[in-house]
Amino acid sequence: MPDAVSLRDTDYSLAEAAILAQPWLSTLTLADVLARPAVVTAAVEQPAPTLRKVMIRKRGSEVSVEIQVSGPMPRSFLKSVEGVVDLLRLPAGWNSYSAKPIEPRNAIRAIRLLAEFLGPETPPPVAVPTVRGGIQLEWHTKGVNIEVYVDSPESDGFFAEYAGSGEGSEAPVAGHEHELRLWVQRISGK
């Protein structure tokens, strides 16, 4: 029987989220997260015989997320996921202009990126909505600025720099995973 840890109760019913223990390191490609519009499920596998699932269920204004993994999950990751899920509650026009609501498939992609790149000692990023329904994950700490952005599941990327250097590195995530991981490591740890 795996351990189950409930996230804090919130008005978007994140209490439904059950966290089952074990390594949470990486996820694999998500084929079609919008196969079912009401219940969006991403099922991925890792080399160990475990199933990892990220599910975002949206019923009207109620949104819940369930994450099942096979290992201990850092609190910073859970907090990061909360930040992303919180964005799903934003209504159209949330910026006082004409912003779109955040698309669940972008939230799933953002959560997958968090699962892939956050280490146990990585501080949670700020989850920032974009006017076209995308998400930015931002860190501005330890002398480093990082923005990881998800415009769509097929279009993501990152920007990273040493703060004040005036020179940054910008690239799609695909093909530059090692570089992004190095940047995230620079802001990780005590």
Binding site: S96, Y97, V128
Partner: protein, 138 residues
């Protein structure tokens, strides 16, 4: 994304708006956060995007607001929790943007900032912005 040609045609720059004029951008609560490197609250680069419907980014001219005998708080009415960032017309122009006064019946200071806003430009705006009205409680 607005092209230079589209902007020159549909939202031409008004040279009567001096480079030093402060242009105010409302920043929603999800678009500002504490930057531990700068040790201050700052707007996200995501706050400086054109509207989702393709309309250029909206700002408010501080000189017009003040000439009405008012102050910046008037563009914050009904927007609790928001902050108000400020950049000058010259700063926007330096990044290939036009400054197009677009007075509305409800807000005479309304202005459009038209031009391509790729991520580096949005990041520059977010770094250069100062607070006309800082995030609440800060």
């Amino acid at each position: 994304m607005s092209t230079l040609e589209d902007c020159a045609k549909n939202y031409p720059d008004d040279p009567m708006v001096a480079d030093g004029v402060a242009l105010l951008r409302r920043i929603p609560p999800k678009h500002f956060h504490l930057d531990k490197n700068l040790e201050r609250w700052r707007p996200s680069s995501a706050a400086f995007e054109d509207d989702e419907d393709g309309d250029p980014m909206s700002v408010y001219r501080q000189d017009v607001i003040e000439s009405d005998g008012s102050d910046a708080r008037r563009v914050m009415i009904g927007h609790q929790g928001y902050a108000l960032a400020s950049l000058t017309a010259g700063q926007f122009r330096s990044r290939s943007q036009t400054v197009f006064p677009d007075a509305l019946r409800e807000e005479s200071a309304h202005t459009k900032i038209c031009g391509p806003k790729p991520r580096p430009v949005r990041r520059w705006f977010s770094e250069q912005a100062v607070w006309a009205l800082p995030p609440p409680g800060n």
